[in-house]
């Protein structure tokens, strides 16, 4: 590869949409934050910083595959087109479905949506954004008449109060968190309230953490609305002029009972009064609000408070939905969901339909919404869907009742998966695999959480025969006979068309209008700086609704009467615990990319379950035990992390692990497919589960420079693996002890009898340690114990290739070697022990001092909330004024 200059592009992870400077080097690519990008101003989180470690081509899907055979694009495209065509011919357009992704670029999304809705003639295109922000979309539309995020990221810095609801911003949107943290440090009177059943890294910044009962956000914000009215804080002028259904919403709010939150009345009042007296208040909400059977109502309960006080669309105030995907917003703008049309136009509005059909010169147009994600896979299961095309997402892991979804995909007559890897849990089920271009290879635009459109630009050539999704889709459309409508040669052509369509939408009174870009020159597009929509002849960027003009037919916002509803799954004696799910700091979604970066697996290398100490005690579960978490839908196994961060009665499990990385770590197999009646978003944080200790005969830890062959070794009942700088690491457990641990180790590391073993066997203590080596270099080392393995993992992994087998078997550094402990700062590899020792030895008092002394937290800063925990433990702070 020839060395290129630096490319400005955009991060492919969360919805913050950080600008990235990518500079190819001789052996990879240097990644840095773009100091000029308005989302991050140079900052990056741990995941973004490690992007350079995720771009190697190992394991990439490089050619189209039909029924397991590599074929050329012509044949693959023709095959897909024929299958789709046959399904439409024999079973109608609604027998075809696309399940797409918030990782698609806007141009990809636009083409997929156009093909499905305008040409195939069905609305059966849904997206993993259904799992992410569908409730926000629905709530926005009910209140504003449009799916509009009113504010901008600057509001987060200008606010006097930030309320973070159902958001672990510190881990899920780290750069926004850091912007808030920086603002708070500049302006100490700024207050932060964190509303989350769980105490998280985000709580570290909070002046007040409200650990409410799961699913009681509506009651909380109804209580706030009632308190607003009671304290005379209603903005009567704004409400009278611009808001409808205020009385109904207020009446309903007063009927609700804030005590359902389980919060102490004094906590509630502290929060309510703080909110009420802070005119500049931004209520940020994320998956804790959206992923709920009352998600839409939760959104409206929040919006109601902002509408009643007129705190919307002005600097430093407003409701703020933060999205979890790089282009969730772009998907919404292109209409790539089953209940949308395009350009924020309404599928069920004949005027809108006609306008789009005319614009596309489309032969057909569905009149009713298509199947939303959960229904879509149900339809695969029951045979209504005959042909399914999954693009860039992994529903066999991420959907609720994931085993049912996996089986539904397997049962579907014809399944196409376009992705960059052939071995995702979903790709393994495909009849046809189409190699897509990856981040760094493709070109287009994404829209972040504050409506800023940024370019993703290529700095690598697509490997093998991989192609951008828009081209893959267009080629299939062409093969189906619709070439004239899909004759795109480059993304800019699609973008122009998308922008032109948004102009029509704008003409119809819609919010999303970037028509000023519809004639954009190719060079201008290539050089496009981040730009916040709308972008029209008369308007560019800014906030919405400060002027009190909404996108409802009468121009007035709607307050929506909402009432608390319990979570769909009731806990029972049999399923007594509430399962909460979410993200970890250093992994993203189903880990297809982040699991490739060794440093991102240092932080959390195994699926785990946070359990409150009292629950753990009742369950006779100790720290680092393995636990089974089970519902009527499925069961997973995870490592117990006993902590009071998670409240009693609740267990938290991260969402990321797939069958590629753990034997039983797909948490969504446990989650039932209960959905919000309006948004169709599944309740991913509310399953009723039982937790039991899994007591294997032995626990194991292994580090190796070859991939451990867990399937080759009999008796392994649990495993989770991750890549490391020196190869691989494996946590595992088994129910049967082998006769020879040396043989076990050879099998695990794929070595024959010619290899050497060095072993330590202590049968009385139930311990065995074996290093397999070639006489000099270690191939792998395993540690077996009848209790959870206690070993200096970071030490073993870091020194796997440098220490002798015997030194490795000691499992810890010798007296003259330092032990860093588990890695806390992924960027600089600073371990917990290093930090703790520095704090003790030098009596460090602040996070900044820790950073100065150890270097931890000085790059991306994502670990800074965790660093604080190393200081002298502090009691939760109360809102002080």
């Amino acid at each position: 590869m020839s060395l290129a200059s630096t490319t400005c592009t955009t991060c492919p992870y969360c919805g913050v949409g950080c600008g990235i400077l990518a500079t190819p080097t001789n052996d990879g690519v240097d990644i840095a934050g773009d100091p000029d990008h308005p989302a991050n101003f140079g900052r990056l989180c741990s995941k973004g910083s490690a992007l350079g470690e995720t771009i190697d081509l190992s394991g990439r899907l490089l050619r189209p595959r039909v029924d397991g055979d590599d074929v050329g694009w012509t044949q693959a495209t023709k095959h897909v087109a024929e299958k789709l065509h046959h399904a439409i011919r024999d079973h109608g357009p609604d027998s075809v479905a696309f399940y797409v992704s918030g990782q698609l670029l806007t141009e990809d999304y636009y083409v997929a949506n156009k093909l499905m809705k305008g040409f195939i003639g069905s609305a059966n295109i849904d997206t993993n954004s259904r799992l992410c922000m569908a409730s926000s979309v629905a709530g926005h539309k009910r209140a504003f008449g449009s799916d509009t995020v009113p504010g901008t990221y600057e509001d987060l810095e200008e606010a006097d109060l930030i309320v973070l609801v159902g958001s672990n911003l510190a881990w899920c949107h780290p750069v926004l968190f850091q912007r808030i943290a920086a603002a708070k440090s500049r302006r100490p009177r700024m207050r932060v309230v964190n509303i989350d059943p769980r105490r998280t890294a985000t709580s570290d910044l909070a002046d007040l953490h409200l650990s409410l009962e799961p699913g009681t956000d509506v009651a909380l914000f109804n209580g706030l609305l009632a308190r607003i009215e009671q304290s005379g804080a209603i903005d009567a002028e704004f409400v009278l002029a611009h808001v409808a259904e205020f009385p109904e919403a207020l009446t309903q709010a007063k009927a609700d009972e804030p005590s359902l939150t389980g919060l102490d009345p004094s906590e509630l009042m502290a929060f309510y009064d703080l909110w009420i007296r802070s005119e500049r208040v931004v209520t940020v909400y994320s998956q804790g609000v959206n992923q709920s059977t009352s998600g839409t109502d939760k959104v409206n309960a929040i919006l109601n408070c902002h509408l009643a006080t007129g705190r919307i669309g002005r600097p430093g105030m407003g409701p703020f939905s933060v999205t979890g995907q790089p282009n969730a917003m772009g998907g919404r703008e292109t209409g790539g969901l089953a209940n949308m049309l395009a350009a924020h136009l309404e599928l069920t509005d004949p005027t809108h339909r006609n306008a789009v059909q005319g614009f596309w010169n489309a032969p057909t147009m569905p009149e009713a919404p298509g199947l939303k994600a959960v229904d879509l896979f149900d339809a695969c299961a029951d045979g209504r869907i005959k042909a399914l095309w999954v693009m860039s997402t992994n529903p066999a892991v991420s959907m609720p009742a994931a085993n049912r979804v996996r089986d539904a995909i397997a049962a579907c007559d014809f399944v196409v998966v376009s992705d960059i890897f052939p071995d995702t849990d979903t790709a393994k089920l495909a009849d046809v695999l189409l190699p897509a271009a990856a981040w760094g290879e493709k070109s287009g635009t994404v829209t972040n959480s504050d409506r800023t459109i940024s370019r993703q630009r290529p700095f690598l050539s697509a490997p093998g025969e991989a192609r951008p999704d828009w081209r893959i889709i267009s080629n299939v459309a062409d093969a189906m006979g619709w070439g004239a409508a899909f004759n795109y040669q480059s993304p800019v052509e699609i973008f122009r068309e998308h922008a032109a369509l948004s102009g029509i939408a704008g003409g119809l009174g819609r919010d999303f209008d970037i028509s000023a870009l519809s004639g954009i020159e190719t060079a201008t597009y290539d050089d496009l700086k981040p730009i916040r929509w709308p972008v029209t002849a008369s308007r560019s960027g800014g906030r919405f609704f400060g002027d009190g003009r909404f996108f409802t037919p009468d121009g007035r916002a709607r307050m929506v009467p909402v009432a608390h509803r319990p979570l769909a799954a009731a806990t029972t004696k049999h399923r007594p615990l509430r399962l909460n799910t979410g993200r970890v700091r250093d992994h993203w979604h189903t880990m297809t990319r982040t699991a490739r970066a060794a440093r991102l697996s240092q932080h959390m290398a195994e699926p785990y379950a946070e359990i409150h100490p009292l629950d753990a005690e009742a369950l006779e579960v100790c720290a680092a035990d393995l636990v089974r978490i089970e519902s009527d839908h499925g069961r997973i196994t995870a490592r117990a992390l006993v902590t009071d961060r998670t409240p009693r009665g609740s267990v938290f499990v991260p969402m990321h692990w797939t069958s590629n990385w753990a034997s039983d770590g797909r948490v969504d197999v446990v989650v039932p497919a209960a959905t919000d009646p309006i948004s169709g978003q599944p309740e991913l944080k509310g399953a009723a589960v039982s937790v039991t200790a899994y007591r294997p005969n032995w626990y194991g830890f292994a580090a190796s420079n070859v991939e451990p062959l867990t399937s080759e070794v009999p008796g392994i009942g649990y495993w989770a693996k991750a890549v490391t700088d020196t190869g691989w690491r494996l946590e595992f457990a088994g129910d049967v002890s082998p006769i020879s641990w040396e043989c076990h180790a050879r099998l695990l590391f794929g070595q024959g009898a010619e290899s050497f073993t060095t072993s330590l066997i202590d049968r009385g203590a139930g311990r065995a340690r074996v290093a397999v080596h070639d006489g000099e270099s270690t191939i792998g080392v395993l540690f077996i114990s009848e209790t959870p393995v206690e070993v200096a993992r970071a030490h073993v992994i870091a020194n796997l290739l440098s220490l002798s087998p015997t030194q490795l078997l000691a499992g810890r550094p010798s007296a003259d070697q330092p032990d860093t402990g588990a890695i806390v700062c992924s960027c600089l590899g600073v371990g917990a022990r290093t930090i703790a020792d520095a704090v003790t030895a030098q009596d460090l008092q602040t996070v900044d001092q820790i950073s100065d002394v150890t270097g931890a937290g000085t790059n991306c800063g994502s670990c800074r909330p965790e660093l604080r925990a190393f200081l002298i433990p502090q009691l939760p702070k109360v809102a002080a004024e």
Binding site: R585, E617, I761, G764, G775, A792, A815, I835, E866, A869
Partner: protein, 435 residues
């Protein structure tokens, strides 16, 4: 007026008694030292390097003429003591009577000679002193000379290795099926055997010697099964027994060895005994470390200071260059014992610790004996090793570590992490708060 102290035996034990005595009570005694060998104290355990040619006699002398002169020791070397008259408090030798106020018996041990035909033939050599050593060195000087060593214990194997280094063809005969069975378990024994065989030493186990064949001098050794090994010399190294003849004749209480109490006093309050000749609390010792401990106590007793010897745990090293083995304590298997076994066959390293009630009671190290003394220290002190058990076999370099965290997740940090441990959900342990 100094008292008269007579010491019988100029071996390692008596040398050490005198050193301590001159330090503890200078001038308290006029000392007369009898030695059967015509030379003073030397480091008998270093005879093997002399045999192998790696050291000279001069290098292993511990006390030279100057030392005896400085301390006014009357040396009666080469003069065998023939009797003790306890009533008159004199020892008898061919030069006459020597009176004593206090007497120390340090006659050591005598090699055990198996009672087979031919055992008295010239060329049958024991391995006890410098003369034996020089006899073997002399025999090895003949090109193509062959040696048969009877006994695959510590002494026999050191002799075998030394003779091999001197160029002899060496065969070791051992009665049972693994060599050095008192010090090594079968696994370590096998490693040692492989090492010796790789040096060209033939090892024949389960070898029951039937007869030493020869007319004027030894020619061969014949086993019960008829196999014969040619031999220019036969080294008898099947064991030792305490040399108590003199004491028994004097009517001192003896069992296997000469009985002493914790002050090293025999049944006669004016007679002490140290070294391989004694039996203390039912034990006889054939290794140097207990002898030194006895010597320290005996000197105190002579100096009139309170001291007590309470017995020794022993450890063994084989002094064969290139062979590293260490053995201590009891390493037989039993139901109430547990073992920690380290195997590194690629480097011929084997380590086994035998534990009882979380205490080391036995240790066998082969190939890497660096940590032997450290294990031995814990064995002797009966240190509870439960807390360091997982790294115990890796020795002191790994013994000082802090508690390790079984959690993979680093999200655990102080202050918000509660880790009850396996010991029971009700017993949270501070050590588990490792961040």
């Amino acid at each position: 007026m100094p008292e008269r102290l007579v010491v019988i035996g100029a071996g390692m034990a008596s040398g050490r008694v005198l050193e301590h005595l001159f330090e503890d009570a200078p001038g308290a005694y006029n000392v007369t030292l009898f030695g059967a060998e015509p030379r003073g104290n030397y480091d008998r355990i270093m005879l093997s390097p002399v045999l192998s040619g790696e050291k000279t006699y001069e290098e292993i002398v511990t006390h030279d003429a100057n030392w005896y002169a400085e301390n006014a020791v009357t040396c009666r070397f080469g003069e065998a003591v023939t009797g003790i008259d306890r009533d008159r408090k004199v020892v008898l030798s061919k030069e006459g009577e020597t009176p004593y106020d206090k007497l120390v018996i340090a006659t050591g041990s005598a090699p055990f000679i198996i009672p087979v035909p031919g055992k008295d033939l010239p060329g049958v050599i024991t391995y006890r002193d410098l003369d034996d050593t020089n006899a073997m060195i002399g025999a090895a000087a003949k090109p193509g000379a062959k040696a048969v060593v009877v006994g695959g214990g510590l002494l026999g194997l050191e002799a075998a290795a030394g003779l091999k280094m001197r160029g002899m063809a060496v065969t070791v005969l051992h009665l049972i099926d693994h060599i050095m069975e008192r010090q090594l378990d079968p696994a370590a024994s096998q490693l040692l055997r492989s090492d010796l065989e790789s040096r060209g030493i033939r090892v024949h186990t389960k070898a029951n010697t039937h007869e030493i064949v020869g007319t004027d001098r030894v020619e061969a050794v014949r086993l019960d099964d008829g196999i014969e090994y040619e031999a220019d010399i036969v080294v008898m190294a099947v064991g030792i027994r305490p040399e108590t003849a003199l004491a028994q004749d004097a009517g001192l209480a003896c069992g296997r060895g000469l009985h002493v109490d914790d002050q090293m006093i025999t049944s006669d309050e004016n007679i002490l005994a140290v070294g391989e000749c004694v039996e203390h609390r039912g034990s006889c010792y054939g290794l140097v470390a207990p002898l030194y401990e006895m010597a320290k106590v005996a000197a105190k007793t002579l100096a009139g200071e309170p001291a007590a010897y309470t017995g020794s745990s022993t450890s063994t090293k084989l002094k064969v260059t290139g062979v590293n083995l260490f053995s201590a304590g009891d390493f037989a298997e039993a139901d109430d014992r547990e073992e920690i076994v380290f195997r590194d066959p690629g480097r011929a390293i084997y380590k086994r610790l035998v534990l009882q009630n979380d205490r080391i009671i036995g240790a066998v190290l082969y190939g890497d004996v660096t940590d032997g003394p450290w294990f031995f220290e814990r064995l002797k002190s009966q240190t509870d090793v439960a807390d360091v058990r997982d790294t115990l076999i890796f020795g002191p370099a790994y013994a000082e570590g802090t508690a390790l965290d079984p959690m993979v997740a680093a999200a655990a940090s102080r202050g918000d992490f509660h880790l009850p441990r396996r010991s029971g959900p009700n017993t949270p342990s501070a050590s588990a708060l490792a961040a």
